[in-house]
């Protein structure tokens, strides 16, 4: 029952988010600020993780494919497919659920605890729109983060595979272009956009409707990470089933 209640509350919140809009000039500044906080602030960790994940994927494939009948270029093919299809969109999104998600939950949650949200409401401002809408819009630039992650992931794979002496540069480039299906990119970015929406709204829900004090803000951030990950994984499964099979 409580789950049903939460799901209903989540959708009512979304209705409020896209309801009466805050003044345009104020909203524009908020969106730019959120892009800076949520997107630019995550670039470093995303770049770092992507590069090394790509590198490890390449090393693992190279080490596990000992059969001489399998061409060496498969290392690049495997790295490309896994980075584009899953590691960048899904894996990075889970990391972002921890970084961006807990930031959103705790910032909105602490505003709830210190009555700042009530203050907004009393002034006659649609607090859901004021607080959450800019985050949703800022997260629309999230696919750029993922494309950078994809590029760096493959760059990491190349570095590890070629410098590690597993394959030659030529073999890697050949493998990279092997049986490339452009629809896979459409699929990856389609789910990235869905993930971006989840990353902005599910943590916002946990922050907006939290009750209690400072301790509960911490708890809400943890719960929000768990539920954001669950929703991400389930969405990933459904989208993959629908689009790829």
């Amino acid at each position: 029952m409580t789950y049903l209640h939460s799901i209903g509350e989540y959708f009512l919140m979304l209705k409020g988010v896209f309801g009466r809009m805050t003044k345009g000039s104020v909203l524009r500044n908020l969106i730019l600020k959120e892009i800076n906080d949520l997107i630019m602030g995550s670039m470093g960790i995303v770049a770092f993780l992507s590069f090394f994940i790509g590198a490890v994927v390449a090393i693992q494939t190279a080490l596990n494919l000992n059969n001489p009948l399998i061409p060496k270029s498969l290392v690049a093919y495997a790295a490309r497919q896994s980075v584009i299809l899953e590691f960048s969109p899904t894996f990075i999104s889970i990391i972002m659920a921890g970084k961006v998600g807990s930031f959103i939950t705790s910032s909105i949650g602490s505003m709830r605890v210190t009555e700042q949200i009530d203050a907004l409401e009393v002034m006659g401002i649609n607090s859901k729109n004021y607080l959450i809408f800019p985050k949703v819009i800022a997260m629309l630039t999230y696919p750029f983060v993922i494309s950078i992650s994809m590029f760096l992931g493959i760059a990491g794979a190349y570095t590890a595979a070629v410098l590690g002496g597993f394959v030659t540069s030529d073999q890697f480039i050949t493998g990279l272009q092997d049986e490339f299906i452009p629809f896979h990119l459409t699929y990856a970015f389609l789910k990235t956009i869905l993930f971006a929406f989840i990353l902005a709204t599910v943590p916002a829900y946990h922050g907006y409707y939290m009750k209690g004090g400072a301790l509960e803000v911490g708890q809400a951030a943890t719960t929000s990470f768990v539920w954001t990950s669950v929703v991400l994984i389930v969405t990933n499964y459904l989208v993959t089933q629908l689009l790829l099979s």
Binding site: V26, S110, M111, E115, Q116, D118, A119, V122, M123, G124
Partner: protein
Amino acid sequence: MIEVKNLYKSFGGQEVLKGIDYTFERGKTNLIIGQSGSGKSVFLKCMLGLFKPDKGTIAYDGKPYSSFSDEEQRELRKEIGMLFQGGALFDSMTVEENIMFPLKMFTKQRKSEMQSRVREVLERVNLEGTGDKMPSEISGGMQKRVAIARAIVNKPKYLFCDEPNSGLDPKTATVIDNLIQELTHENDITTVLITHDMNSVLEIGERIAFLKDGVLAWKGTKDEIFKTTDETVTDFVYSSDLFQKVRDAQQKE
């Protein structure tokens, strides 16, 4: 003027407000006092429109809140200033941005006009030169004063204060009390103030409503509260020895 008639509100079967009738007058500080859990905050939140009453009406200048359209509700909210218990300053903004916030949201003034209005109210609460600081960098008493400045910057007709001087030293508390009273008289505001600080009751209680278990147990002024023989009131107001002595001294005069 805010007229409350026969107000009922319950949460999950538990009645918090059980039929309250009261009129908050304009240009006066109207105090609501009562023990924790007596329904003061719920009463205030009903008046602010954050809670919807089960029964009864709340009329702003003769017009019941329930008959307001969405647009009218929004217009009304622009005429309301609210001072929250913890100040509720936006901690991502500087003091100046905090005070400017209602102006930025609801008026079409130019930046220079807004800035001069902000300077004006900052001066009024004796905080010149703190505009560039963040709320976390100033003391609790200063935060309260900034919150008052934010509440009055848009020249409200109604000012609501939720325990404005809780957690402050006696001197700062008196400063805040007097500031609220002066502003109320200067701008002819309908001020509603929740408190359980007896100093402020005896200092600025121009009209006092005493809530007990969700009903209005007593009403009067600060002069009457010295004389009253109503036991529920004296039990609450003079629960400390000190105030008991103050009362005895006052009655001998």
